[in-house]
Amino acid sequence: MRNRLMIVTAALLLASATLAPVQASAQSQEQPAASAAASTKGIFDVGFRGTSVTGDEARYERYSDLQNGANINLSFRKQTDTYLFGADAQNVGYRDQQYSALYKSGKVNFSFLYDSIPLNYGYNTSTPWVESGKGKWTLDTAARTAVQNKQAGILGIATTAAQAAQASIYRALAKPFNLTQKRDSLGFDVTYNATSELGITAAVLSTAKTGYQPWGASFAFSYANELPLPLDHRTNDISLAAEWANQKGMFRVAWEGSWFKNQIQSLEWDNPVRITDFSNGREPLLGPYDPSGYSNGNGPAFGRQSTFPDSNQNTVSFLALVKLAKRTVINGAFSVVDNTQNDTLIPWTSNSVINQPVVWAAFPELAKLERATAEAKVRGVNGQVNFSSRPTNKVGISAKYRHNTHANISRPFNAVEYVRFDAVPEETGSESEGHDIVRDTVDASVSFSLMPLSTLRVGYGYDNVNRTGRAHSDMRDNIFRVTLDTTGNPYLVLRVGYEMNKRKGFGFSEMALEEGGAQPGLRFYDEAERDRNRANLLFTLMPTSTVDITASVAYGKDAYKGPGLEFGLLDANTTSYNVGINFTPTDQVAFGANFGRENFSSLQKSRAASPPPSPQFSDPTRDWTLDNDEKVNNVDVYLDLMNLISKTDIKFGYVFSDSDNAYVHGGPWVATLRATLDATGQPTSQALPNVTNSWQQLRAELRVHASAKVGFGLEYRYEKLDVSDYATINLPGTDQPRIDYLGAITTGYGNRPYKGSTGFARIFYFF
């Protein structure tokens, strides 16, 4: 305590001692404008913050740190004829603190940034696993033994509704913890302006992520687990660039290097339903593992999975621009990207029952890895050329060509045999496959300013994408666009646009689908043939200089089609409307309100079936559909009263956003399920409830300028979230997380409501 007091005292003395000379020097700078152009401004803001939350406090904070305590912010700018210096500090000492500085002069520009961004998943999460080392999670030995031995009255993971009525042994063992992570970024960049035309820039950015995030780590279909994945990784980015520019053109060459390093490259965790690796003493293929272990939980005692591998990326790029006559500009860019990853591979499995000669005799590829490291590599070559010209005031022309190559030159990895869930060795008959993507895009448009203040533009685009390892080898989009923009009119802004996009597929391979066990009528929507239509209209009316009224509407429809398409995403539609008003009757009063409404809908189709040769696979009576329909409303309102009351600024703001998301299953198979009753008399298909949420935030701020140097402020923020999500599982009758629901042991992370208030009281010092 005494040391803290000394530190604070020293800091305050330093600050007060140096403020006096600044004030003195500021006074000495009050000279006629012609001889001294120095400008010094800043705000030092210190106060207290108090927060109160009921419900999901982590969701209330989410990306911020609003705990009770002092709140300090600082902003400083000094500009003279020779330099500019600025510094900012926000939320000093908290998990979301940020510090920045910049210095600019004729020769050198420098900037610095340190920024922390928390991501708070849950403060009411818990886990029975104990972190015993980096990336290692262990469970209570006695509990695992009891579960494996099926001790009477002991439940590990519920697999039936009846079992779910009782608590798992792991519920009582779970310890609460805060499931949060934080991203810390530290960066510098320096630009040296060698001449007025030549600048050289160097930048460094180091970003670290620490904490935990929810992570799946399962052993079988019926026995899923969710753990906190520990995070400890860093990305270091360095860039160097030289840029030369004059009135005729510019040229830039740059190199960027990025190194991602993960300190936790694998995750090991105990199996909650096994303490020993299952063994039935039989020989392959009937043992010694359980051939159904990936489903019934007779698998390993612990599991191991890879996490994020270290990787490097190097990019060399060139950018050039030349200005020609008739307001013509040609610019272009070219880059080569080299991306490598060569981490040590984890073994095939942690399961000792599988790691033995009798199994290797049946699965020889599992005796050892084909190679020790990943040898993964991707090379990208990218280029674009843009041409833009306005030969007359009435006509404009633009054209663009872009090329992207993503070449995966990783050495394929032989995985004709593998181990599923660390439980069961299997033949897969395949090796790893990297996906190459080559994209060529051409775009051209012509604009006509035939009417005063209005420009009509028509354009055409052609996009050709070649991919390996997909169902289509080649997709081609033909895109037609027309827009009308009315600008420069003091009373009206009108923007209208329409785009039609027809996508066709070539080189379709049914074998590619069959290899993945997919229905031959499936089309992957990111590469399926599609008709896309999009239209939008934006209208802003400004009857006077103090009022603007805006209305906008947008419509989009994607219809997936093409020969043989039967399954997958069939269509997706969006519609949005917004209407708003801004009213600024005086410099002291500003008011605005906006209402928006959006609809999203999609239809997808599937077939529930066993694989061939089962007749189910081609039985249309087993088809089903999902109709997803979401409605969203947005409202935002603000009122600013700036010095309407002498020396007083008052601000109010209100934001509302809600969503009603419906998931409706249909089709012959669903009808069959709904007509089929289980042993308890329930239909074997029941509709899902809608997922809804409603978020609103109210802000009020009062600032009183007691003098030119000192002010006082009060700020209040209230937020309320209501949410209903069937996927979030709570203990019956409560808002508290349940970690031991059907088929899984989880952390309890989910979407839950809250009400929160945060108040600030602060003092400002202006200088």
């Binding site: 600050a15 039936t160 990218n382 629901y741």
Partner: protein, 319 residues
Amino acid sequence: MHSFCKTFFRGAALAGLVAGLLASAGTASAATSGKATVQQAPAAKAQGEYAGQDTCLGCHEDKAAAVKDGPHARAFNPNSPAATAGCESCHGAGKAHAEAGGDKSLIKGISKLPVNQSSELCTSCHDRKKHALWAGSQHDQRNVGCTSCHSVHAAKGAPQLKAKSEPELCASCHKAIVNKQSRFNHMPVRESKLGCSSCHNVHGSTNMKLLKAGTTVDESCTSCHSEKRGPYLWEHAPVADACVTCHDPHGSNNDRMLVAKAPFLCQRCHVTARHPPTVYDSYALKNSSAANRISGRSCLVCHQLIHGSNSPNGKAFLR
């Protein structure tokens, strides 16, 4: 109380040191500003058709007040108006305008110019770094010019924006996109940790959708989310193509900013046999272990390595 003390002392100490640092900088600059006064670049003078800045300020003093703290007034930058012809760097030679008593037809009123002409004026200087690819870019083609978003004399927010913040400005046209920051799952834009320009270069870029990093959607996203960059031993095909196949980067009411809720998003592509195309609804949620495929992390409780796996067993992204 303990955490309050810790935070308060930490913050006060840090703020005091920062204030001390800044004050020292101020003192140093005060010491050097005398030299700066001597070496100050002379204000743009009357010469030829140019009236000189003093003449302009004789009538338009309010305009100077708004500019003086901005980048156009930085005389140390040899390319800035303050180091060249002052007001007339942008508005053109003004001697005739001044001698005619302020005839507006004899001077360039930037806000009165057609959008593309005012943009050509601005880009006569702002033609490098992030402005290099302006000509022919999406905004340029739609007659959204420099003065549509920026104001030199009446800026409300940095940098020289006509609104207090980027989202507020961008919302004037892209309201539906900006509304997504209020969605249940969103990037930290409304928390002021990110802005539109964190991902986009609205002045033109080498990437699609005016993304400023890289040349593909994936390169842009993985410039921050580098743990997803790979390349992995086992790739998930749509991941290698574009993150936006599955995610809505502006905000979503689905977990992890997905464009649709799992398992339904996954079931758009995984129409095979056995469990992927199973109907997961309230019956599954309440009656069997299949609930683990529709509650919580859904498919990702098993297929966690969905962005790619580096495990030899990573074929199905289980390990």
